[in-house]
């Protein structure tokens, strides 16, 4: 009986922890994607609250406002046509937003342990630490992931496939040091596709603001009731 009471007490503790004050963060982001000598450029503003509520305002090439949460539930609104659609995609969870990863305690492994990876090996260099993560359950696509840290900040992440080929490299550069956390403002991802095409994606953050400095009406953005709903998409 006492044990059950202890369970309930823990439940309340977790609940009260979850209703603590939420921190706000915002930034402007430019994303460039290069493939076969063609480059796509997307510009967006992100408005993130530590409860997982994320509003992404894409300004280029077309204005789109995307509201997402930590469960991967997404609502997109197209102001030009006053249309909206909803979708579900776990991989697009707001937890994967750079703000979310680096402002939380998942910065140490960029969320790998919570995704079912465990650290298998750790090597130490003079200023760098190289950690190797392996999936704890059967995974058909990833055999291991290496994370490299410089002064406790992740600077490199490499994905190895089942053939032990490194088919994805992510570089974290140009860290800025905010009052509560540090985050990279230049993230470059190089992926080798099965067709041997290489895709380079670069994400550059600017005008990063936190807490009281982060003020925008987009934090509370709601899709207008007048918006015409399009057919939803569920991405597995």
């Amino acid at each position: 009986m006492k044990l059950k009471i202890l369970y309930i007490a823990v439940l309340f503790l977790v609940f009260f922890q979850s209703v603590q004050a939420q921190n706000k963060m915002q930034a402007e982001v430019t994303i460039q994607q290069l493939i076969r000598n063609k480059v796509l450029t997307i510009k967006k503003e992100i408005f993130y609250q530590s409860n997982g509520h994320l509003v992404t305002h894409i300004t280029q090439p077309q204005e789109i406002i995307i509201i997402s949460n930590s469960l991967g539930e997404i609502s997109s609104y197209f102001p030009a046509t006053d249309e909206a659609f909803s979708s579900v995609s776990p991989s697009q969870s707001s937890k994967n937003e750079v703000f979310a990863v680096f402002s939380s305690n998942e910065r140490n492994d960029l969320g790998l342990s919570s995704l079912g990876f465990e650290m298998k090996q750790q090597e130490r260099d003079s200023t760098r630490i190289v950690k190797t993560y392996i999936p704890t359950t059967e995974n058909k696509e990833i055999s291991r992931i290496i994370m490299v840290y410089d002064n406790d900040l992740p600077i490199y992440c490499g994905y190895f496939n089942k053939e032990n080929k490194e088919n994805k490299k992510i570089y974290y550069q140009d860290y800025i040091h905010l009052p509560k956390f540090s985050m990279p403002t230049n993230i470059t991802e190089i992926s080798v596709m099965p067709s041997n095409d290489t895709i380079i994606r670069r994400q550059i953050f600017s005008s990063v603001k936190c807490d009281k400095e982060a003020v925008s009406e987009y934090f509370e953005f709601r899709i207008p009731d007048s918006a015409k709903m399009m057919e939803g998409i569920k991405i597995e």
Binding site: Q62, Q92, N96, F117
Partner: protein
């Protein structure tokens, strides 16, 4: 002897340099690649397609997508089972661990007098709220949180 010392020193330096460069990006090469590329127009693209939503660059969204396939376990169900039947490890079987886990919990006096299922319950709620129980699925370690 001096030559040997300098050779070892040079080799060590070379290895260190290679090790360092491997994890550093040649930003000039990347800038050049972007500047030489042709800018694509979005006029003919379907902006409402799901591909456009793939904006979580640089995080482990790919890993999440890969790991989430086939998991399909509810943290609420796992925590509820743990609450009522945690002492005999039924929640562990629900999460896909060893089928003999109930035996381990039983032999250890209900998981070391209820302490293990209590911690299981806590971590299932804490990580479940964040939808992060993937690491407990298929985990056959007695202490799933270690």
């Amino acid at each position: 002897m001096k030559k040997f010392f300098f050779c070892v020193l040079a080799l060590f330096g070379l290895v260190s340099l290679t090790y360092a460069d491997k994890y550093e990006l040649d930003n000039n090469a990347i800038d050049n690649a972007f500047s030489k590329a042709t800018e694509l127009s979005f006029n003919n693209m379907d902006l409402s397609s799901a591909n456009l939503l793939d904006l979580n660059i640089g995080t482990n969204s790919d890993a999440m997508a890969m790991m989430s396939r086939g998991a399909g376990k509810s943290w609420v169900a796992a925590a509820a089972i743990c609450f009522f039947l945690g002492e005999i490890g039924i929640h562990r079987m629900y999460l896909g661990s060893s089928p003999l886990m109930w035996l381990y919990y039983g032999v250890t006096c209900c998981g070391i007098f209820g302490i293990v299922p209590l911690i299981d319950f806590i971590v299932l709620i804490v990580d479940g709220v964040q939808n992060n129980i993937g690491k407990y699925c298929g985990n056959s370690s007695y202490f799933m949180w270690m």
